[in-house]
């Protein structure tokens, strides 16, 4: 971890238009939740649909994509990363710092609003608020690591990340059982399912993978992607054109 790298990353990430985009998504979740509560009362089924479908299924992958790629991608594209690379800094320290900033952003703008939305929707009943808050937190952390790695290895990180999050996890994951085992969303749902406990089954908040597998995969993907991104940053090739 490096404080200066963290400050520069945060300034870049929260500067200008990207900050608006980052704030827009949780604002949508909270207004939808307030509306749902107002119209339908405290409805656990509706809460699972909103928190599972929107918060875990859309909000957090998108936040992870914006924060994960945004923590390093623009610097690589415009070449300004050269100011970090020409310093006696360990490349892994640079990546870990950037990952931590992105993960913090997704936790604050994804998991915390999910917790608030859960409270708005159903109060503390059935542990839905806590369950989905923890689920979106671990999902957000894993997405950040994965998408940061993508931004280091390819210029098309945003497109590939969108395809993964929306097409693979959401579309294919719904219909192809095998694909669900390779889905950050499903791994995180396993954590949520465990916290929610018995009611998860009847509310349909169940994961395609077991808890132990899910936790191992989350840790392996997060740590592995971060480590590999640091390794790739050591030999990253910058374009030389102006």
């Amino acid at each position: 971890m490096n404080g200066t790298v963290a400050r520069l990353t945060a300034r870049g990430l929260l500067g200008r238009r990207r900050a608006l985009l980052l704030l827009l998504l949780p604002a949508v979740l909270l207004s939808l939740s307030a509306m749902a509560r107002g119209l339908a009362g405290a409805d656990q089924q509706l809460a699972v649909t909103l928190l599972g479908g929107f918060a875990l299924g859309t909000l957090v992958p998108l936040l992870g994509l914006i924060a994960g790629t945004g923590a390093i991608g623009p610097e690589i594209d415009d070449g300004s990363i050269v100011y970090l690379l020409t310093k006696p800094l360990n490349r892994h320290a640079i990546v870990v710092t950037k990952f931590a900033v992105a993960a913090a952003v997704v936790t604050v703008l994804g998991a915390l609003p999910t917790f608030a939305a859960g409270l708005v929707l159903t109060g503390t009943s059935a542990n839905l608020a806590v369950g989905y808050a923890v689920g979106t937190a671990v999902a957000g952390v894993a997405y950040c690591a994965l998408f940061l790695l993508l931004a280091v290895v390819t210029r098309n990180a945003v497109v590939i990340g969108l395809l993964y999050a929306l097409v693979w996890e959401t579309l294919i994951g719904q219909f192809v059982p095998g694909a669900q085992a390779l889905s950050i969303q499903q791994w995180s749902l396993a954590v949520t399912e465990r916290i929610v406990g018995a009611p998860a089954e009847q509310l349909g908040a169940t994961s395609a993978v077991g808890l132990a597998t899910a936790v191992v995969l989350l840790v392996v993907v997060t740590a592995g992607a971060t480590w590999y991104a640091g390794r790739q940053l050591r030999t990253i090739r910058l374009t030389s054109e102006v």
Binding site: T4, K87, R91, L238
Partner: protein, 314 residues
């Protein structure tokens, strides 16, 4: 006192050879890396700056390998060609951040000194995004100087500068050289290089074409054979006459003339003169003696590329 050693270095990208078997030693003082666009200057500077590994050969600083050696940056300052910086911050914040990234004991003092050196203290509190090209160049320079490195690498530092900024930077580079630093900058303009650099390394098409001080490089460039394109009313007869001249080393006839008075407009004579002053002096009387009318005598393309390609095939 630091020395960069480039030993039999080649670097290729897929099937493009950007740097081809280059060996050079860069010692203290100001060295200019001169070459036309695409010569491989940036690729070479990136290898000296540890941003790119050589495909073969080695690049070292005082014996230490530069590639994948992060600690080398304590001794190297690099001014990149691209303009992008972390422009959400001010000049002061950015230079200070660079000082902190170096973990200097007194980052504020170091940032202050670097900004003074590049004369940016007056505008240091403005956002980088609002700086002119010259100001950005100076902030880039300050970030490279903030840790007082013995080696300074600059890629096309004069690009986009106005004449006054150019003079200031030239003076700054000379001063860095006088202090005993090893300063290397790239440029595609000979006049720029010879005003600052005590040593010039010329690159053409990935190859190390020549090296020396500016007098030696000038001599190589002005004493090369000069090319002329000549049109006359009888190119063939003129070619024969010109060949008897001692100042000429080669004559080529591109489309055959059809005899006196039938100049077809498409033909021309390409002459290579070893002594161009003598050649220009003797051509008109020569033509008159043979009863040939000269329509046009023009120096062939004098672009830097042709100058440099001569240096390579020399």
């Amino acid at each position: 006192m630091s020395t960069l050693q480039i030993s039999q270095v080649s670097r290729w990208f897929a099937n493009v050879v950007a740097v081809n078997d280059v060996t050079m030693t860069i010692g203290p003082g100001v060295t200019g890396l001169l070459g036309p666009n695409g010569a491989g200057k940036s690729t070479l500077i990136h290898m000296m700056g540890g941003l790119l590994g050589p495909s073969t050969g080695s690049v070292t600083l005082d014996g230490d390998v530069i590639w994948r050696n992060e600690q080398i940056y304590r001794r190297i300052g690099l001014v990149p060609e691209r303009e992008a910086m972390y422009d959400v911050v001010t000049g002061w914040e950015f230079v200070l951040a660079n000082a902190r990234l170096h973990r200097l004991p007194d980052p504020e003092g170091a940032a202050e000194r670097a900004l003074e050196t590049v004369e940016m203290t007056g505008t240091q509190d403005r956002g980088i995004a609002g700086y002119s090209k010259g100001m950005k160049q100076r902030i880039k320079m300050a970030t490279a100087l903030v840790h007082d490195p013995p080696v300074l690498l600059l890629d096309e530092p004069f690009n986009g500068m106005d004449p006054r900024q150019r003079l200031q930077l030239m003076e700054l580079l000379r001063e860095m050289g006088r202090q005993g630093r090893t300063v290397l900058f790239s440029s595609h303009i000979l006049e720029e290089v010879e005003q600052v650099a005590s040593n010039i390394q010329v690159m053409v098409a990935g190859r190390h074409a020549a090296s020396g001080d500016f007098r030696e490089i000038r001599r190589l460039m002005t004493e090369r054979p000069h090319q002329y394109t000549i049109r006359s009313d009888d190119d063939r007869a003129l070619a024969a006459a010109i060949m008897t001249e001692g100042s000429v080393s080669g004559v080529q006839l591109t489309s055959t003339g059809r005899g006196i008075g039938t100049h077809d407009g498409g033909g021309a004579l390409h002459v290579q003169a070893t002594d161009f002053a003598a050649f220009v002096r003797t051509l008109p009387p020569l033509a008159r003696r043979h009863g040939i009318r000269l329509y046009e005598v023009a120096p062939a393309d004098e672009s830097l590329e042709s100058v440099f390609s001569y240096l390579v095939s020399r």
